[in-house]
Every structure is written in C-alpha cells, then in structure tokens.
C-alpha cells in the first residue's frame, strides 16, 4: 500500500518527511573555538542534538546513537561529500568549554570531519535552546533536566524530522538523509 500522506498547508505532492518548522538560526562557538552560524551550513542536511558532557541521563545514549549514525553514513559512502553535518549543541555552556567538548568527542570517537560540537555564552545558548523549542531545568543533584530530541534539518533550513532515542534507528536516519539530499538535488542545490 502506498504512503497515506494527505493534505498539507504547504501544497500538493507531500514528501514522506513533512516540514515541521523552520530551523532557528544560531551563532555559537565550535569545539575548536571557531565561530559557527546556522547560515554557514547552508545547503547541508544537518542532524542536531542537544547534550551536555556531564549528563548521566540520556545524553550518553544520544551521543552514542549519533556515533552509530556517523558509522552508518560512512558505510553508505555519505561521509565523503560535504553535504551532511552532525551538530551537538551543549545545554550547559558554563561547564562545556571548547576543551571539554574536544575531550568528550575523543571519548566517543566522534569524527569532526562532519561533526561539530557547539558551545557559547550563556545568553547565546539560552536563546538557541529556546528557539529550537528545547528547555533546561537545573536539578538539585547538579544535573539538568531537558527533553530528548534530535532534529533533522534539510538544506533549506527546515526541520523535517524529530527523533528521540525510542525511535532513531541509524539505518532510518540515513534513509531520511538520503531522501532530503535527493529532494535538494531536484531543487537544484549542491
């Protein structure tokens, strides 16, 4: 049976991945201490997670799942091009300095060819978190409560899927990214 995708406010011929919202801009600092803005990733498909390096909740599993996605992209030959980017934005800028992020990346073996960890000033991070519909709540034990979502953004800066750990098979993520890259190609983007 064919997909049951029906009417949308966006018009006919819907994609399997609906447009959920515009991906908010950000202006943050990478794990190498460099400036990175959302617009610098124009025309790339991005997978965006929110973690903090001292988390003992879902963040380790989230980062591990992103590693699995990285491996799956490599296996599919999709790591060689420069059209896919993984991003992990900290929820704890006070503690997650660029150095801490680099150390965390090493612990997980995250390949920074196309995976960037981001931090910034408290204000910038707070604005970014709010703009993406995320939130943080300090806990008495020093941990930070937060939703667990991973966003898939297309080359037009639109959020097209939101995963969480219950539903984020790396093979499906790769399939979703492939779909977005195909759509991007049809629209004439590189």
């Amino acid at each position: 049976m064919s997909p049951a995708l029906g009417a949308t406010e966006m018009g006919p011929a819907p994609s399997r991945l609906a447009v959920i919202q515009s991906a908010p801009d950000f202006d943050l600092t990478t794990h190498n201490g460099e400036r990175l803005r959302r617009r610098d990733l124009k025309n790339k498909v991005c997978l965006v997670s929110f973690i903090f390096t001292t988390c003992n909740g879902t963040c380790p599993a989230t980062t591990h799942r992103m590693v699995q996605v990285e491996d799956a992209l490599k296996a599919a030959g999709m790591w060689k091009e420069d059209n896919v980017q993984l991003l992990s934005i900290t929820l704890d800028p006070a503690r997650d300095t660029p150095e801490k992020l680099r150390h965390y990346m090493q612990l997980y073996g995250a390949d920074d060819t196309h995976w960037t960890f981001l931090t910034g000033s408290a204000d910038r991070i707070a604005q970014t978190i709010a703009a993406w519909g995320m939130w943080t709540k300090p806990m008495p034990n020093g941990q930070i409560d937060h939703p667990s979502r991973i966003y898939l953004v297309d080359s037009k800066s639109q959020v097209r899927e939101i995963y969480n750990l219950s539903f984020m098979d790396p093979a499906w993520v790769v399939k979703d990214i492939q779909l977005l890259l195909q759509e991007s190609k049809k629209l004439g983007n590189k």
Partner: protein
C-alpha cells in the same frame, strides 16, 4: 586511535546500560505515548477533563490533589475554565516533554493546549486551535498522541462529520503539518498507538460525528467500524487491515521489548481482541475473551500481565490475566458505581483512578464522580474514602472523562 576506540566501547557499554536503565523507568507508565517523558515520582495532581453536563456552561479541567501527604488530598484544588461550551471535551494527552496537555473535543472539534509546567497545581490555557475541519478536512479530534516535538491526533470523521476519518500531525506550537489518509475500505478511526521498537503503529475504529452526536437509540449501528489498521510508522504506510468485533476502541501494544502483539476492546461486541504479528511480517486478530457489557476503556498493568476493562453497560471493571494469551483468566471484578468508564493506572500499577462518563449522548448515570481502586496481589479493591463528587460545581454537574497525572 586505540585509546579512542577503548573509550568508545566503554561509553558504548555505559550508553547501552543507561539506555536499559532509562528504558526500565520509561516503561513504567502505561497507556501513554512511548514518546512522553515519564513521571519519575509519585503523583501529586490528577487532571480530569470535564464536560458541563447540561452543555450550557463552559467545559473545564479540574485538578484533584492526590498526594496522600497533603491536607487537601482527595479534593478539587483548581478549576480551569476552557472558555467555551458544547465541546464534548473527551481525551487529552501530554506533549513529549510533558510540559503541556492537548485536550480534544468531539463535538466542537476544538483543541485546547494547556500549560502544566509553570504552575502544575494551576494549569493555564495557552492556546485554542479552532477551525480544524477547514484546516485538516477532519472532525472530532479524539486521541492526542505525542510524537517527538509533535502531536499526532486521530480524528473520528471527515470535514462534514461523515467519512472518511483520518489522522493529522501538528508541531508542538499547534501548527497543522499534514494529514494521514485512510484506505478507502477502512475509513473509520478511533485510537492510535505506536510501538517504536518494532516500527509499528495501530489505529482502530469507531463512528463519525454525524452518528455519535445522536442518542444511542438513534445511532446507525451499521455505521461503525470493525477494523484495526497496522502501519509501518516510519513510512506512514498501512501494511495490514484486520477485522475485529464491532467498534474496536483503545489500542494497547504489549509493553514487552519487541513483542509484536497488542489488545483492543470491542465496545459493541462485549469482547477484548488481540492482534499478533508473526516472523513473516503478517498480522492476524482474534477474540481473546468475552467481557461485561459495553467495554469502553482498556488499561494495562506495567508488567504487561493484566488488562483492566471498564464495562460501561454492566457497571463493573474487570481485571484479566493475559499472561497466557491462549487462556486469559478473569482475576477480579469491582463495581465502582454506575457506568464506570475512563481509568488511569499509576506507573507502579497500584492505583487506578476512575471516572464515569462516556459521551453525553450515552450517559445514564444520575451522578458523576472520580473514584479510586487499589490494585494488589488479590486484585482490585475500591478505596472507601476517595470519592470526588462532580455534581456540585456552581455551574452544576460535570461529566468527568479522561485523566492524567502530574
């Protein structure tokens, strides 16, 4: 590189362990979307979605103090006016991050978005989504089911109150994203349930607005569905259509790992049915047991062993041991009052809150209430003291329906 790989495998183990531990906590709260953040402490407040019984005054949500340590335990501590009447406020559900409740209305097709985080004891109405039939081509929003960052809602009817019914997705801000259409030969809708571990979604069947807005004696019984649809959730594609008894309502997947079966209560067949998938990807459905009259709601114990079914027509709640699906056993029965309907079981499986309204067109009870049953090794027992009267509001009696815990 070897050092990095060593740490990667170490954190892999920690991540998997963390995932297993997290999954253990996450599995504890039954009958909610698996994407909803779990309640990790004993409940403090019970939210009850209420219909003004005469449909003249505004519908509302009440907050009942359910903290046994509180001096206000068992009393209504807040009432949130939803700003309109005649809605038939019915089911509601948390967003994935548990900060908001989306409440659905079967007659007006309004959806109420309520903030429960700023002040959990005093929820605030933050948005009302209007004009849904025009936006979606659907009427009668029924089950708000959280997806990550979104809501998936089952709608009981088409734009003009007839068929086909359908599903619609919204982002958490309330913006309509898209509909999911139904096969032409299975146009009915009621509930939805997703089992992420096996990438499956199940939807069930009822009747559309043009029918359920009539009194029971005038309803066309030929205009009810008797299908379950099994979907590939990732692809949003129907892969199987199963025939059940008339009006399969609640969809309850097994809570065990990747177990590929679930249960539904067939309200006009007085039965519980089970759907089962096999290793070849095929599905079948069969009658599991005969229940009391008009089984209107179905709940699960967190250990997946028991089903609780409210028999609206015979004024009882039955507890069924379904650990052996070939030989289900009725293990206990309680009679909480006239026409028990909605139930809400706590995450530890020990307390079950109960209300007694189904639909304004179907209710026959002289009074409406919220009561409590305790679930223990010997089955269910009614709490003799917990009894919240829903007939004494300044605006008159109210029909309590769905419930959520905070």
């Amino acid at each position: 590189m070897k050092t990095y790989l060593k740490y990667r495998w170490t954190w892999l183990g920690a991540g998997v362990l963390g995932g297993v531990l997290f999954a253990g906590v996450a599995a504890a709260e039954t009958c909610l979307s698996p994407f909803v953040k779990r309640l990790d402490k004993p409940e403090q407040f019970l939210y009850v979605f209420c219909v003004d019984a005469a449909a003249k005054n505004n519908d509302f949500l009440i907050v009942i103090d359910v903290n046994p340590e509180s001096v206000k335990y068992g009393t209504i501590i807040h009432q949130l006016d939803l700003g309109s009447s005649g809605n038939e406020t019915h089911h509601f559900g948390f967003t994935d991050d548990r900060t908001h409740i989306w409440g659905c209305s079967l007659i007006s097709s309004r959806i109420f978005i309520i903030d429960v985080t700023a002040e959990p004891a005093k929820p605030r109405l933050v948005k009302v989504i209007e004009d849904l039939p025009a936006k979606t081509g659907l009427t009668g929003p029924h089950s708000p089911y959280a997806l990550p960052g979104r809501m998936l809602i089952s709608f009981l009817g088409g734009k003009n109150g007839g068929l086909p019914a359908g599903l619609a997705e919204f982002n958490n801000d309330g913006k309509f994203l898209r509909t999911l259409d139904l096969p032409q030969d299975a146009p009915y809708m009621y509930d939805v349930a997703i089992k992420p571990a096996i990438n499956r979604m199940v939807t069930s069947s009822f009747t559309p607005l043009e029918n359920y807005r009539k009194p029971l004696a005038q309803m066309d019984l030929k205009n009810f569905g008797k299908e379950l649809l099994v979907w590939d959730f990732h692809e949003r594609k129907v892969i199987a259509k199963l025939t059940t008894g008339l009006a399969p309502l609640e969809c309850r997947w097994s809570l065990q790992g990747k177990a590929n079966f679930g249960f539904t209560n067939c309200a006009l067949d007085d039965s519980i049915w089970v759907w089962e998938g096999n290793d070849n990807g095929a599905y079948m459905a069969r009658k599991l047991c005969t229940t009391g009259k008009l089984p209107a709601d179905l709940r699960q114990s967190p250990d997946d062993r028991y089903l609780f079914v409210s028999c609206f027509g015979s004024n009882e709640i039955q507890q069924w041991d379904v650990s052996d699906r070939k030989a289900p056993k009725l293990t206990s029965t309680i009679a909480p009052g006239v026409q028990p309907n909605m139930m809400h079981l706590t995450g530890d499986g020990k307390r079950m809150y109960i209300t007694n309204s189904l639909l304004s067109t179907l209710d026959r009870a002289p009074t409406f209430w919220v009561r409590l049953a305790h679930v223990g090794p010997d089955g269910m027992k009614m709490d003799p003291f917990f009894n919240v009267d829903l007939t004494k509001f300044p605006t008159g009696p109210a029909r309590g329906h769905d419930m959520l815990l905070y």
